[in-house]
Symmetry: C2
Subunit: 191 residues, 2 copies
């Protein structure tokens, strides 16, 4: 019986394939083992179990999101940067729904997820920096970042879930949301 030659990294890579092909909830040790051509328990030689594997996959996806945000921001500043980053997020979600879910989705309150939270914080910091370039009062900065994050995440989530029933163009709606939100954020109406 020749060895399969697995490693932690290759198991995570196969897991990413599963996530891409079948979705985040379909990520199961059985699915990974099947792709690896290996019995399920063999995987425990390389990962600590399903929750640990999910955490590792989520980490990769978070980093990918961070990278795309950074790239999208590029040399842009302020509102155009925010828009580009929002679009980059949505693009990732549409190209790899499972990865987006992995990055955003399912790590609620994991105790051992400090590392993951730290990496996710880097993605948030990217958005935060761009939002900070908007004409928003300093003491509203956090509110504004939360607003943009919520808008993007909510839109993408609803879109992926098929929550937009009407045939009306969804790209347009997304741009509409982001531009009008940033407009609203930079308007200081009552006081």
């Amino acid at each position: 019986m020749p060895r399969a030659g697995l490693s932690s990294a290759s198991v995570v890579a196969l897991a990413l394939d599963v996530v891409d092909d079948e979705g985040w909830e379909a990520l199961t040790l059985a699915a990974v083992a099947s792709r690896a051509g290996v019995a399920v328990p063999s995987l425990y030689k390389h990962v600590a179990g399903l929750p640990a594997l999910r955490r590792e996959v989520a980490g990769v996806c978070v980093d990918e999101l961070t990278g795309r945000l950074t790239a999208a921001r590029g040399t842009l500043v302020g509102a155009p940067a925010v828009l580009a980053m929002a679009q980059a997020t949505r693009d990732l979600a549409r190209e790899h729904p499972g990865r987006y879910q992995a990055a955003q989705g399912d790590w609620p309150l994991d105790p051992a997820a400090d590392d993951l939270r730290a990496r996710a914080a880097r993605a948030v910091e990217q958005m935060s920096a761009a939002v900070g370039e908007l004409d928003v009062p300093a003491d509203r900065r956090i509110d504004a970042v939360r607003a943009v994050r919520a808008a993007v995440h909510g839109f993408v989530t609803l879109e992926l879930a098929g929550g937009f029933g009407l045939p009306q163009d969804v790209d347009t709606s997304f741009d509409y949301l982001i531009t009008h939100l940033t407009t609203g954020l930079t308007a200081h109406p009552a006081a």
Copy 2:
């Protein structure tokens, strides 16, 4: 062995208890059966299986959301109505996270979910009506409704997932998001 006296309705009620106490993902036939004091297969006399039960529970939760939206809107018109409905949504999510998830969360592409979709559409229509009272061009109505839905859903989702790490007041951020978004929607900057 005296009968437990279950019915479809009582099974759904117990399922709601599970969702309230342990969350939407913890809704399992085993959990319901345990609360009913009954063996798991007995439940099949009252519901068609776990997916069907989830659908029924989701239906109840969607209707509850619709009811709260209607109540929150009350006699308000336009932006105040939108804000009140947004807050009502968030209140539901914070009081009963599991129910919110049930209402919004996990019915992606179920084929047999037409009834559920129809009921969810009623909730959307409530928001849509209020958004329609904003000063938004008619051909932007759908975009605006999507924007508000996305903002509310995204914020609530992130909040429930513990995505707002900073201690900064979250209520304030929410109001900030909704008011500035509606402000942005009613501003028609570059034609």
